[in-house]
Amino acid sequence: MQPSGSSSFEIVAREDFSDVTFLLEVRHPMLAKAAKAGQFVIVMEHEQGERIPLTIADFDRDAGTITLVIQAVGKTTREMQQNCRVGTHLFAVVGPMGIPSHIGGKKKVVCVGGGLGVAPIFPQARAWKESGAYVIGVVGFRNRGLVFWDEKFRAVCDELIVCTDDGSAGIKGLVTEGIKQAIAKHADIEELVAIGPPVMMKGCAEATRPHGIRTMVSLNPVMVDGTGMCGGCRVKIGETVKFACVDGPDFDGHLVDFDDLMSRLGRYKTAEKEALERFTESCRIRGDAAAEPALAIDRPSTDG
């Protein structure tokens, strides 16, 4: 049944950063007004779609739009990559969800983004900058061709360290390499914020642990409602269990049980694989370009 009311979420801009990463700007003036760094939305592309969480990568209160940066990793995200054109509409967008990141009161911070975390770390870096902190940005990509938003980051970071797996841009190595450099250069880092695949965030937390630097990570467990009602997004933080959608998504990286998170992320793998295969097959029959096998990644890149 078509819900009445605000069910028209128009896509007003799209940009493709690479074969797997694309940006959508969605009109939702109220959401743009309410959004804060660290929050996310839940999106349904069409009526029979899945509810998938996506971080609010940027918002423009004047234009009344929010920006989502999406990695096409499975059925839903690849279908969005194929169907979401300027002028089309999303069936549902709800948010902003989650507790906004706690920003302020620190003089020097490091903001780290890798893989699908590069875009979401941007509003954090900007908010820290606006709070008066000295901001060191560390962003990781597989290679030079996948780099995006470096100018945007430079505008809000006092220093920016770009890391690539093959060294084709910036320094060679994972984001943890960049973190080591930053820590070596600055002894007075007060906080590190990391967003990306769980292994990357785990690596970041391990990199800062010996230095006792407060480390916040943004967790991305499988979600359904995003309102605290289903408990599907539960994560282990130290001895306690929290629901990432309402108690997070930001948590103290030194307390997070990342192995638990990673194992639970795979719990619908069989069905997801089946859905993706059917989707690719149906595209192939229709002769669509999306029939190309998912690029090198079949998972959000696990590197930084």
Partner: protein, 501 residues
């Protein structure tokens, strides 16, 4: 009218209702109970003694005039029966299906002292379904009052409050976080118990009253309760956001894959239609040997849904005995018929996983009933040395819920120590003009209690706004001039219309 009925003259047997065959229905999502046909309803209506003291009315949380509507059925005046019910209960086709009648009206029915009680719930459903089929809606003439009312949450509490406020002439907007209205009725209670068409039909009636539903709206985060009563210009607000936040037990192994809450299972299967995967995108890894912990309505629904998703075996694990199971008696009965295995007096102690972090077994301990506890039920105590394992590949927790934290996080609403919203007797919260009711105030309860709370709050909100109490729009006109003042029935109390700021 016929001469006075007695317990001897009425049909002795409670009229049975047609049901889908257990074997067949355990594999489909079509409705289990087919409901009374006209002839059956007429026979059952004959069983009501029309007691003068009306114990059933007092047994009903909203006080439906039960003998009144049953008499209308017997008189074949079905629209009249519908008018009487909707005078107090907005959603007869829903409540007739899901109310725990055995512990409410039917539990105190006089006939039940000697025979099986009158099947009040089935008769109520009969009337509600006929209204849907015939398109009766009872849209009164509504004079706009100029007031704007915002409702948070489109569950039964919010819907009931919205209806009353709309009838009082207010412009009503209902905000719902999900992409569809209905609350637990939609995402929790499965189709085979309460078909979606029934809920949609009732929601359609609310739309006819002029109520607007705004889905995809997370109140608290998109805008706050405080903003609603200030910059958004709502003169009064009602909060009916439900309980949410499912509990787990804190036993080892709960984060293994294959372990989930009943809410997650039911939301995926019902609202997100994972049962129709891959036509719908939401996945659900169906279990082959499913174990559900708990014995409330939620647990019964989780078990019966698992059965319909194709499980080989579905088991219930509950630490008390069948007599204490909180589910509706009919649901336990249906679950048994469908082949669900009940392990009463059994409590899980640990979930065991395999090398892939997937659950493979549940370690349980047998219980026995000891002294009564604070709830008056005998407290289950473990039997030492009685531990055993159940082989299972899916474990579902249905042991209750805690308060949803979102509104507490985002407003200054006063909460009680468990995180539920604190209200006074009129369901007013600590913020002026903001009322709350349903599961978010009482903790998980029932559909009819949530609806009752929505209506109670509406009464208080009307008083707050200085509106005439239009509770009696459907009441028959009193001919007694003494019952009226200035031409207005006395039942309509505060009729001074004061326009607040």
């Amino acid at each position: 009218m016929a001469k006075k009925k007695t317990i001897r003259t009425i049909p002795q047997e409670r009229t049975p209702v047609q049901e889908q065959d257990p074997k067949e229905r355990a594999r489909n999502f079509a409705e289990v109970s087919l409901g009374y046909r006209l002839e059956e309803a007429l026979v059952e209506a004959e069983r009501c003694l029309q007691c003068a003291d009306e114990p059933c009315v007092r047994g009903c949380p909203v006080g439906i005039d039960i003998p009144g509507f049953i008499q209308k059925i017997a008189d074949k005046h079905y629209h009249g029966a519908y008018d009487i019910i909707t005078d107090t209960n907005l959603l007869p086709s829903i409540c007739g299906r899901v109310c725990p009648q055995e512990s409410q009206c039917e539990g105190v029915c006089t006939v039940g002292d000697t025979l099986e009680p009158v099947a009040i719930g089935r008769l109520e459903r009969f009337v509600g379904d006929m209204a849907i089929k015939e398109g009766w809606a009872n849209i009164p003439y509504i004079e706009p009052s100029g007031h704007r009312v915002g409702i948070v949450g489109a569950g039964p509490a919010g819907m009931a409050c919205a209806a009353d406020m709309a009838k009082a002439g207010c412009e009503v907007v209902v905000y719902e976080a999900f992409h569809q209205p209905g609350g637990v009725l939609k995402y929790g209670i499965p189709d085979f118990r309460l078909p979606n068409e029934v809920i949609d039909a009732e929601i359609e009636k609310l739309r006819k009253l002029g109520i607007r539903f705004e889905c995809n709206t997370l109140v608290g985060r998109l805008f706050t309760i405080e903003q609603m009563v200030t910059e958004m210009g709502y003169h009064a607000v009602f909060i009916g956001t439900g309980a949410g936040y499912p509990s787990f037990m804190g036993i080892p192994g709960e984060s293994l894959n294959g372990v989930l809450s009943a809410n997650e299972l039911l939301t995926r299967a019902n609202l997100m239609r994972a049962r129709d995967f891959p036509s719908f995108d939401t996945p659900l890894q169906p279990g082959r040997r499913v174990t559900v912990i708990g014995a409330g309505n939620t647990a019964m629904d989780a078990m019966r849904v698992s059965m319909r998703l194709g499980a080989d075996k579905v088991m219930c694990v509950y630490r008390r005995s069948k007599a204490e199971a909180p589910a509706r008696v009919e649901e336990v009965h249906h679950a048994e018929e469908e082949g669900i295995e009940f392990n009463w007096l059994t409590s899980p102690v640990e979930l065991l996983g395999d090398a892939d972090n997937k659950v493979r077994a549940m370690r349980c301990i047998r219980m026995e009933l000891g002294e009564p506890d604070s709830s008056g039920r005998r407290k289950p105590v473990p039997v030492p040395g009685s531990e055993f394992e159940i082989e299972t590949d899916m474990v579902v927790f249905a042991i209750g819920t805690n308060a949803n934290p979102i509104l507490g996080q985002t407003s200054k609403l006063k909460l009680n120590k468990w995180g539920y919203i604190e209200t006074d007797d009129d369901l007013a919260t600590s913020i002026a003009g903001v009322y709350a009711g349903g599961d978010i105030v009482t903790g998980a309860a029932t559909v009819i209690q949530a609806m009752g709370a929505g209506r109670k709050a509406a009464r208080a909100m009307k008083a707050y706004l200085g509106l005439r109490d239009s509770d009696c729009v459907y009441a028959p006109d009193t001919d007694d001039p003494g019952g009226r003042r200035f031409g207005i029935p006395a039942a309509e109390h505060n009729f001074a219309r004061v326009r607040l700021a």
